[in-house]
Point group: none
Chain length 216, copies 4
DNA sequence: CATGAATGAGCGTTCATTCAT
DNA sequence: AATGAATGAACGCTCATTCAT
C-alpha cells in the first residue's frame, strides 16, 4: 500500500498525454514552485531548469497558471480522493479490531503520503492562502472524507465504546493536526530523507498522544 | 492581558519614527499582502490603498521587501518574544496550581493573539515557505520559548507527576498543533469576527483533548 | 475656415490632459501607424520614435489599442462631426445662391481637411476594413450628414429646380467619390505638400464633372 | 464574359503547381486575410482553417508573406491585366457605336469583377497602404490601362465629339471613382450576395451621372 | 516630506519558422 | 509530401524604483 501511495502522482502523470519534454517541464516547475513560490518563478526559470526553450513550455500548457493547475488539480481531484477511498479495500482486508492499530495504520499512511509528496504539499500550502477556489476544493474533499471509511471506522469504535463521544469531524481534526505537527517541520526544512524508522517513531508518539493525552 | 496582546503590534508601530502617512502605508500593505500575497501586491496597489503617491512609499521604506520586513520583523523580533516574556509577570501574579487552569490560560491567550493578528499570521505563513531566513528566525524564537516560563511551568508539573514524562519540546508541539487546528480554519476563511464564546469553547475542547486524548 | 479645419485635431489634442511627452507619443504613433500600419508598429518602435521609454507609453494609454483610439476617436467623434456642423454657420454667413459656388466651397473645404489629416485618414482607411465598430461609427456619422446643412442646401437647390431629382444620399455619394478620386492618390503617395493651386484645380475639375458629366 | 471573370483567379490557381492541400491553404488564407487582416492572421489560424498541419503551409510557401504574394501577385500581374486586355476581343466582337452602351458594358463588367473578387480586393486595399511595392505595381498596371483598349475607345468617342475634351486619365479616374462608390460599401459590409438586378441599377445610375452630372 | 512622471528590466505569451520523423 | 513538437526572437505590458519638482 505504501508503495501505491508513492506512485499515485507518477501514475497520474503517465495517464496524461504529456511528452517527455513536457514532463520535464512539470518536474522542474514542481521543484521551483515549491521552493521559490509560484509568483517568484519565471517561465524562463522553468524553461532553463527543464532544458527546453521557453516556447516549448507553452506547447502543452495554456499559460503559467496552467502548469500550477497541472500540479495541483491531480493533487486535489485525484490523489487526495484516491488516498481516501483506498481505505475501503484496506479496511475490508484488514480488520482493525482495536483503535490503536487503526490509528497507527492511518497516521503512518498519511505521513508517508505527505512526505513523499512534499513539493506538492508545499505548493498547495502556499497557494491555499491566495486562492479561494483552492480553499473551497479542499473543503469539499474534507467533506467527502467525513463520509468515507475513516469516519465510518471511527464511528464503529465510538459505538463500541472504545472512543470518547467526540464529534467525528473534531476527531479527524485532532488526528490531522497531530500528524501535521510531525510532518510539517520536515517539510518546511525540506528534509528529503525521512527514514521509515523516524516515521515509525513519529507515528507511535502521535498515537500515544491522541489516545491518552499528556496526563499520566 | 488580552488588550495588551491586541496592542503590541500597534505599540511597536509607535516606537518607530514613521509618519502618519507611512503608517497608513504599512496598514494597507498588511491588508494587501495578507489577502493577495506579497508577490501579487504591487506598490501601486499599496499606494492607492494608502491614499498616497507611489513615491511616498519609498520615503521610509528602501524597497517593497522593506515593507514586508517592517511587518514581519516586529512580529518575529518583538511581538512573539513579548508574548513569551509577558508570562513571567503573568505566572508570578497568577499561581497556576493545576494543569487544567494553566493550559486553559495559555491556549486561550494564544488563540486570541493569533486571531487578533490574523493578517500577520497569514503573511508569515505564506513567506515562511519561501524564506530560509524567516524559517531560521522562527526556529530561534521557538528555541527561546523552550527556555521560557511556559516550558518551566510545564516542567514543574512534570516534576510534580501531574504530566506524563514526555519531552518538553514535544509537549509544546502538541499544545501548538491542537491550538492551531482550531485557529487555522478561521484564519484561512478570513473570519474576522470570532467571538469570545467560540474561543472559550475551542479552548475547552483543546484542553480536554490535550489532557486525556480521545479514549474514554 | 480652412485654418479652423487645420487646427481641429490639434485643438482636440490640447483639450486632453496629455503631457508633452505623451503628445510626442501620439505624434509618433500617428506617423508610424499611418505608414507601417497598426499591427506592424511595435510599442518599442513608438517609444524609440518618440524618444521616451517604453513604459512611458503606458503611463497615459492603457494599451497599444488605446493609442489607436486616441487617434481615431477624436477623428470620428469630434473632428468629423465638427466639420459637418460647422457648415451651419458657414451657410448662414455665406448665402450660396448657386449650385456651382456651393459645391466649390464644400469640395475645396473637404479636400483641405483630408489632406491636412492625411495620416489619420490613412490609419482610418486601414482600420475600417478590420473593425466593424469603426465601420458602424462611420455609418452613423454619415447618417448625421444626411440630416445636416449640406443635405438641406442640396434639397433647396433641388426644390428650386437647379439640381436633378436624384436622391440626396446618392448626390452626396457622387460628391464624395469625385472628391476622393483626387485626394486618395495624393494620400496613397504620401504627398505632403499639395499646394492651394492644385486644390483649386482639382476642385474646379470636380465641380465641372459633377455638374455636367463628361458629355459636351 | 462575366463567367470568364469569375474564373480568372481560379484559372490562375490551376496554372500553378500547387497540390490540393496547398490550394486549401490559399483559400483559407484568402478568407482570413480579408476579414482579419494579414497581420492579425497567424499561420496556426491558417493551418487550422485549412485542416492541415502548420508545417504543411511551409512546404509550398517560403513564409507567411509568400502566401500573401501568392494571393496578390496573380491579382496584380495576371488578373488585372487579363481583365484589361480581354477588352480587345470584346471590343472587336462588340462594336460600341455609342458612349452609353460602352460605359454600361465597361462599368457593369468591372462591378461584377470587384464583387466576385471581394476578398482579394479587401486584402489589396489593406495592403496598398503599407506596401510601396504594391502601390507601384498598381500604378504600372493603371499606366498600361491608359494604353489599352478602353482608353482607345474613349479617345475615339472624343474624336467623334461625343465626349468632352477631358484628358483620358481624368476620364478614367471619374469612371473608376463612380464605380467604386457603389461597390465599396458592399465590400466594406461584406455583402456576399449582390444580385444582378442591383448591379444593373447601379450601372445605370453610374452611367447617367457620368454622362450628365447632376444638373437637369 | 510628498509627489507622480519617467524609467527600463523583465515578465508571460505569441508566433513565424525549422526539422526530425 | 506531410507532420507537429520544438524553437527563440520579439511582442505587449507591468512594475519596482528613481528623481526633479
Amino acid at each position: 500500500m505504501a508503495n501505491n501511495i508513492q506512485n499515485i502522482f507518477n501514475e497520474s502523470l503517465q495517464d496524461t498525454n504529456l511528452s517527455d519534454k513536457q514532463k520535464t517541464v512539470l518536474k522542474a516547475s514542481l521543484d521551483l514552485f515549491s521552493t521559490k513560490g509560484f509568483d517568484s518563478t519565471s517561465t524562463k526559470d522553468i524553461a532553463n531548469s527543464a532544458g527546453v526553450a521557453e516556447g516549448t513550455v507553452y506547447q502543452q500548457f495554456k499559460n503559467k497558471r496552467g502548469i500550477l493547475d497541472a500540479i495541483l488539480n491531480p493533487f486535489i481531484d485525484s490523489v487526495l480522493p484516491k488516498i481516501v477511498l483506498d481505505f475501503t479495500d484496506a479496511v475490508k482486508g484488514n480488520q482493525f479490531d482495536n483503535v490503536h492499530d487503526f490509528l497507527t495504520y492511518v497516521i503512518k499512511n498519511r505521513m508517508k503520503f505527505a512526505l513523499t509528496n512534499q513539493n506538492q504539499v508545499r505548493i498547495f500550502a502556499q497557494e491555499i492562502f491566495k486562492s479561494n477556489k483552492l480553499l473551497n476544493q479542499m473543503k469539499k474533499q474534507l467533506g467527502n472524507l467525513l463520509d468515507g471509511p475513516v469516519a465510518q471506522q471511527l464511528q464503529k469504535f465510538q459505538e463500541r465504546g472504545e472512543i470518547a463521544p467526540i464529534p467525528i469531524p473534531r476527531l479527524i481534526q485532532f488526528l490531522f493536526s497531530t500528524t501535521v505537527s510531525f510532518v510539517l517541520p520536515a517539510i518546511l526544512n525540506q528534509q528529503g530523507n525521512v527514514t521509515n524508522e523516524q516515521i515509525d517513531g513519529w507515528t507511535e508518539q502521535s498515537v500515544d498522544f491522541i489516545l491518552h493525552g499528556i496526563t499520566l
